[in-house]
């Protein structure tokens, strides 16, 4: 008499849980579904309380991903991942030879997993979640920020980088001037902004950061300064600070 694995089915879609249970009912001698969970937090609670032998774990859930769920578990059951689309996760699974099921789940594929479970008594070695996530991060193109969130009162406005011409510090505040001539106020400091912004934003003076992609003209000014004419509606003219002279010269290849 082989072992019967106590299982929990975790998926954010009720229909997906139902169908998984109904597919598993064909293997009642190997797997018995004792509980189900509709989101990450619920899953953690139930796993810790019921200590199942096996979980069917959906990767993409609204509150936590399947990986985050595993990271927070103290009880480590066998895991069969289920996913509809996560191509990067799939690559990672294959790298670590981790068992996973593609949704919609095929009966034959499920049979294979159950067979493996039956013959080995377990699915795989303990899963190295951080290694897994590292691989997924490598595959996944990092989501680059393309806009600067500006908080004005209760609202957040997204200013797209390409729409910003330059920023000017005044007292504790920074004014952001867009290409179409609108002015926005933010209470971030210029230094803080400068750290957050991508390469194309460039400090030319104590109180100015300009968007390099929005320079229309650049002139040599007297006294080791440069005059930047910006490519905005009004053709704003900004002069660089004297102390920035050498840096500007080398950065712009002058």
């Amino acid at each position: 008499m082989s072992q019967v694995f106590k299982a929990i089915v975790i998926d954010d879609e009720p229909a997906a849980r139902r169908i998984m249970k109904s597919l598993l009912s064909a293997y009642a001698d190997t797997v018995s579904v004792i509980e189900e969970a509709g989101n990450g937090r619920e899953a953690i609670e139930k796993i810790e309380a019921l200590k199942p032998d096996l979980i069917f774990l959906d990767i993409q859930m609204p509150d936590l991903t399947g990986f985050e769920v595993i990271e927070r578990l103290t009880h480590k059951p066998n895991i069969i991942f289920t996913t509809a689309y996560e191509q990067y996760a799939i690559k990672a699974f294959e790298t670590f030879s981790i068992d996973y099921l593609l949704k919609p789940v095929r009966e034959e594929r499920l049979a294979q997993s159950i067979q493996k479970l039956k013959s080995f008594g377990r699915i795989s070695n303990t899963i190295d979640v951080s290694g897994l996530q590292e691989i997924i991060r490598q595959f996944q193109a990092p989501q680059k920020a393309t806009a600067l969130p500006i908080k004005t009162g209760d609202r957040i406005i997204l200013l797209r980088y390409e729409s910003i011409a330059y920023m000017e510090a005044q007292d504790k505040y920074v004014y952001i001037f867009t290409v179409d001539g609108t002015k926005y106020l933010t209470d971030n400091s210029l230094a803080a902004l400068s750290e957050k912004l991508p390469q194309q934003f460039y400090r030319i003076q104590k109180s100015y950061i300009i968007n390099k992609d929005r320079i229309r003209e650049m002139h040599r000014h007297f006294n080791g300064r440069y005059l930047f004419v910006m490519d905005d509606k009004v053709g704003s003219r900004l002069t660089s600070g004297r102390t920035y002279h050498d840096l500007i010269r080398s950065d712009f290849g002058l």
Binding site: E13, A15, S22, D63, I156
Partner: protein
Amino acid sequence: MKEPTTLEYIILIFSCLLFALAGLYILTNFTRLFKQSVRNELLRKNIVAWLAIFCISTAMLPMSGGFFYMLAKWGWWWSVIGQFISTTATTLVVYNTVRFIAENSRFKKLPFIQHNALIVFSLIVTTVAINIPFGYILYGSQTSYLKYIIINSIYLAGATGLIYAVISYLDIERKRKFDAKELELSRMSELKAKAELDALHSKVNPHFLYNALNSIADLSMTDGKKARKMTIALADLFRYSINYSQNNYSTINDEMAMTEVYMQIEKIRFEDQLTYSVYVEPATAHYLIPRFILQPLAENAVKHGLKATGKLTEIFMEVRRKDNGVIINIADNGPPFPDELVPGYGVKSVFDKLDLLFPGQYEIHFSNVPRKQVSIQINKLLKNEPGL
């Protein structure tokens, strides 16, 4: 009359050349001179024309013997004054007549050759008309001189007129070429915008497609009716997203209808976890907005709303008139937007579409109070007309 010395000839030729150069400079910069200082266009043009005529007629003085005759008869003082007077008269009569004919829209409608022939003709007539009384004052009734003045005027005015005609012909040619190029460029940028939009349209979130297909596969075994409903909804949504008619715009009504189809699919997927409501102010329903901008935002709202687990996710979408445009609000009851908001694919595509179709006329903002919502304000009402 005393014969001038060689030095005097050189000085004369030199000063004439200087005047000619000054005249040419004034002509080439005709439209730019005094633009800052003299606001009245007619006055400014007359001043510039006076200067040009003065310089050029002074440069050409040695060609007609009149000036030297006058010099011998009345002396320097009166000769210069005479030159001023004749320049002023020429400017007032000749320049303004020709300008009227050249710029008046009625004459402009004439074919190029007729129009320019008329300009040359009027130039000759007015020049002769001006010069006859001056000649009379100067030479009295000596007919041989008068004949000389008339022939000289016809010759000068005719030459000037022909030069003008050639220049304007070249100008028109250049403009035509430039316009052709411009047209080509604008057509290209339109094509580019179209291509960009097409690329944006075709990207319906693949996650969503897979998830929906998965749900259908599941439902087909448990609830055939729901599976059928979802298949039909998915077909509608994808037909809309494929955009056979290649429209960049959609009416607010259509956009909202498609977003509702999307919401229905999500509602089937998440059953009792999700509810939504929609309001479209009737006065806005038939205005145009970029196609497929509501669905990505609704998708975001669903995703964010579901994050707050353990409670019913409520989505609220509305479109209202605001200022001189419309405002679209999409609200959910998930956790508030963080201050450090990073736009995802959906928001970026919405930005891109608005940038292409309503450049500088829209604003997107995110707010957490009084309710958590994303708002798009479009400050332009675009009527639904064929060809958009």
